[in-house]
Symmetry: C2
Subunit: 227 residues, 2 copies
Amino acid sequence: MAVKLYELAGANPDLRFSPYCWRTRFALAHKGLAVDGVAWRFTDKAAIAFSGQTKVPVMVDGDQTVSDSWAIAEYLEHTYPDKPALFPNGRAHARFINAWADGVAQAGIGRLIVSDVHDVLAEKDQAYFTATREAFFGQKLTEVTAGRETRVLEWRRCLQPLRTILRTQPWIGGESPDYGDYILAGTLQWARCTSRFELLESNDAASAWFARVLDLFDGLGRRAVTV
Amino acid sequence: MAVKLYELAGANPDLRFSPYCWRTRFALAHKGLAVDGVAWRFTDKAAIAFSGQTKVPVMVDGDQTVSDSWAIAEYLEHTYPDKPALFPNGRAHARFINAWADGVAQAGIGRLIVSDVHDVLAEKDQAYFTATREAFFGQKLTEVTAGRETRVLEWRRCLQPLRTILRTQPWIGGESPDYGDYILAGTLQWARCTSRFELLESNDAASAWFARVLDLFDGLGRRAVTV
């Protein structure tokens, strides 16, 4: 039986763009598990109330309900130990990469694309999104993304640790991809799906790495619907 | 026979402050190996010419000479597999932490303390240090560190990934310290040994973690000579 995954969707229900849901999508593919993705909107709180959560990803695997992308990855590793390991490099350092991706790479991307994210949302989600994000940033969304053509140059520098390790290993996981790769790829996929803004230059080693992740699992990430 | 370690020293030969040498010091202690530290100055190129290197750490273990802190850690893990593991979480993610520590945490600290580092050096090293660092920064050293009381507030934010993981694990290595801890602790020890500038606030979880690293191995880091 396929795992059921509630995924954040845009006005187009096939546009699935949450960075956290993408981490889970990649993790499920890594484990070779079939997925039944369910489009969910920010304001569909009732649809996932059974999970006790108000945000996705929410995953239902048989009689088990798990939410939060990190918790889902841990659950999958624990429940499917005979499938390829998500954490061949352990969890401790992967947590650091997760915290860095959330707090640095992803937080920075938010300041570059948040108004684009707004624009792909279903109309019923747009007021919720605008209110919560403007409260967070203390600015109008179009003010947050203003000047991004210049600011992206600074943002690109935050990926320097990735570029450094790519000189000696093809994946964050080393010789093969692991959950560390899916963490950051989920973050970049969020921008790729919601925005036409050019985050990475094509000649960047980070771009080449991201392209390799998109090609995994028969192009799972590559085939995603984008704006 | 003790391992011989060439370590960067100040005017006071007992002031050993290189972040890379500290990573090696902690790694050797983790492996339980005795160390014979040799004071070395930036301009003592001839003393380590036998290694083919112009920088420290240079480690001599019997008939083996190894330089570069990362290469030394790999050598120790390979050569002493029965001693406590430096990489219980593998090398791939540890490389990311190493690249992040060098390029973000440490690069930022340099802009806060480089003039203090100059001041602890032996006189014969000061001209070399000033010339190479002013060429790197494109500024006089005192200009580089100007305004640091304000800029340190921004620098402190770069440790956010550390603070995040410390909510769920006591060490970068997880339940016990590993080379990931020694990487960043080496970086902070560099500042602690050379500068009186207050890098971290005492109520910071990152400070508490660093204090724990300083207490390891009978206070190896704590007992270090500082400026």
